[in-house]
Point group: C2
Chain length 423, copies 2
């Protein structure tokens, strides 16, 4: 069992609770908060701070350290900034050092602190600030920062070829894919989620800044609204088709299901991924103008749920069981259901996006799909193969970006991202 | 004096307070809420509902009706969805009818209602829904929807050439402008602001849907964080340079200053614009990677304020007076100050954006600048002419989009947007 306690450093004289004011608080007050947060995290079985008890509290934090990375099974925040990066150095040591530097800065920011002590106002007026400053005065906003490694990182540049997990396959081409290479793949990904988008943007921007000369941005995606929840009894969010999404998602407190479907287990290879997970990201453009001119009956039949209540077709309430035979054979819910996929499940954590408009005057809107799983070969790939071939929703969807990522396990205090990978 | 009361219609059987649940409430309860909202609005001197007293309350609404449109002097919400539209019909009557239909839907949505009664679940399964549904279950989130008319609307298509305000000039080309025509101009603009971005996106998406065949999207811009406030004593937001912005903004409750600098007055032409305002919108890309490698001292000298406190250079506290002689002659605050511009002021209401990344791997981030004023010829144009020529910040800025808009006065219950323009 790792030490899940939060690190305490002497430079942390700012309120870790991330209240509206970042004025200095006494070290005693800080310790008091940290103690309480650690206690909650310890009882949850996974790394959650006060957010588990108070999901709407603006001052809540989600613990950065733990057996698993935050941002997967922890409560889903409202906003996303996701970035895929390419490594531009061939220097293994510089990359390893960056991962270490990132870990320190990320852990600080998830507590509502600047990326470095006195970051924004600088150690010296002659030097660039070590924090860009736009989150000064904002709370931690349940920020989580989650790192992942793409297949291309395991080529011959950094001596990692022998460490590539077999489950980190190159995704096949699915029927209907219209992928933009500039919005696909990448060596490293960073997923920042927070209830305040400025906090998420600040986190990504500062990690990119720290990585200057080592990594560069390949693509970047903001998500304005979560479309799935991992918190039972929370109101189910709606996607850009206006339907409740993720009703049957894996709950963040369901340890058995997480072990079976999400976390890489000790029996799985490689050892450095045990406690981690695999993410698949898909930028899915939704043809909302066409959808909006489709009848309600057609929308419901294609989706497999009612629009208002979100009940499975043929049932009355949202959480009534799905009866597959009552759904059209091309209904999305039917095709994605575990019973149609040999029991395979995904932990979904996607976000709605709107990125301006296209040349035809249509809103460039849709879903930035993020799904976590124990093995994409058994989960996302067979599920998506079936959906791509038969899903009635395909007429309204275009997959324009794609990525697959090995998300390593969490770190304990003092450990660094990728420590075991580079060992 | 117009009637500022909220309209009550029999179809409104859903909670107007926009609570977490939209279950039906009694008409008595609805009337009780509306009465309270109207009372607050009446005492404020401008159209503000409960938001003025409780800016953070998720259930707050901002009154749609009033002498002035909401979304200008009313408290600034956290998120923006702005859209510029081109009219694709030449049928004046269809355009006028759309403005009327829009008014009804916009007023409803600002109360947390669907765009039409029973919109999402449809009057019939055979018909497309009259609301796209993704805001079901969300509160009103202080939504405001503000309409404006661009210079091109006053060409020969709709018989409006004689109604074009003299103040609605075509903006000159400013030094350094690198405007993208596809992100500039437009016949009509809609500015939706809300504390929940899904509520703002839903509003724009439904108005675009209603306008199908009459208008099409020219460009669309999401803003994730406000950079200015109109509420005195509220924490001043920070822009993507990490600096407090809009410290000296015009306050939404300063009626005299609003009359002098923002609202078109009875002595001004044309009559249909009295009580309205002119908006200038500029999409300003900020070269944040270059900025982030600039020393703190240089950043502060260029801006004219300290980064931490936001005090004018040479002063101690944020709200200390700006002493122009203590600032560099190229400092932004000095050049934008009313004392450097014959007393001209702007009501700023801009938002930070991040729209993915560019081909060089830099974040496409910046400020979607929105400024309201009584006459752009006396305010934005001379101020921006001076800034474009001399502002030290220019090295880090690129103006990539531009628009100018006549924002008509507010409507009373039963009136429609553009009613006086088309009379």
């Amino acid at each position: 069992m790792r030490d899940h306690g939060l690190p305490i450093r002497d430079d942390d004289v700012v309120g870790a609770g991330g209240g509206a004011s970042r004025s200095a608080v006494s070290r005693r007050a800080l310790l008091g908060f940290v103690g309480a947060g650690a206690a909650v995290a310890a009882t949850g079985g996974f790394a959650v701070g006060r957010a588990a008890a108070e999901p709407a509290a603006a001052t809540a934090t989600i613990a950065f350290t733990g057996a698993h990375q935050a941002g997967i099974s922890t409560p889903v925040q409202d906003r996303l900034h996701f970035v895929a990066l390419d490594v531009v150095t061939k220097d293994r040591a510089r990359l390893k050092a960056l991962l270490s530097e990132w870990t320190v800065a990320a852990e600080r920011m998830t507590r509502g602190l600047e990326a470095a002590p006195d970051g924004a106002v600088g150690v010296s007026p002659e030097a660039p600030p070590l924090d860009t400053g736009e989150a000064l005065g904002l709370s931690a906003s349940r920020l989580s920062i989650t790192v992942g490694f793409g297949p291309s990182l395991f080529d011959d540049r950094f001596g990692l070829a022998g460490k590539r997990p077999e489950a980190l396959v190159d995704l096949p081409r699915f029927a209907g894919d219209v992928l933009d290479p500039d919005r696909s793949n990448g060596d490293i990904c960073l997923q920042a989620c927070a209830d305040d988008p400025q906090v998420a943007v600040h986190a990504i921007r500062n990690l990119v800044r720290i990585g200057f000369g080592v990594v560069r941005v390949r693509y970047s995606q903001l998500g304005f609204g979560k479309t799935s929840s991992t918190t039972p009894n929370e109101q189910t969010p709606r996607n850009m088709f206006g339907f409740k999404d993720g009703t049957a998602n894996i709950a963040g407190n369901d340890a058995n299901t997480l072990d079976e479907h999400v976390w890489v287990q000790p029996a799985d290879d490689p050892a450095w991924m045990v406690g981690g997970s695999y993410a698949v990201t898909r930028r899915i453009r939704m043809q909302i103008e066409t959808w909006d001119r489709t009848s309600l009956g057609e929308q419901e039949a294609i989706t497999g749920r009612t629009k208002g209540e979100g009940a499975p077709i043929g049932q009355q309430r949202e959480f009534d069981p799905v009866v597959l035979d009552k759904l059209d054979v091309t209904a999305h819910v039917r095709l994605a259901h575990p019973d149609s996929n040999a029991g395979a499940r995904l932990l979904r954590r996607g976000y709605s996006f709107t990125d301006g408009s296209d040349e035809l005057g249509r809103l460039d809107a849709g879903l930035f799909f993020i799904a976590y799983q124990r093995d994409p070969r058994e989960q996302f790939i067979p599920i998506q193969t079936q959906l791509a071939a038969n899903d009635g929703l395909n007429e309204y969807l275009r997959h324009t970006g794609s990525g697959i990522w090995a998300m390593p396990p969490g770190v304990a205090a003092g450990e660094s991202w990728g420590q075991e990978l580079f060992a």
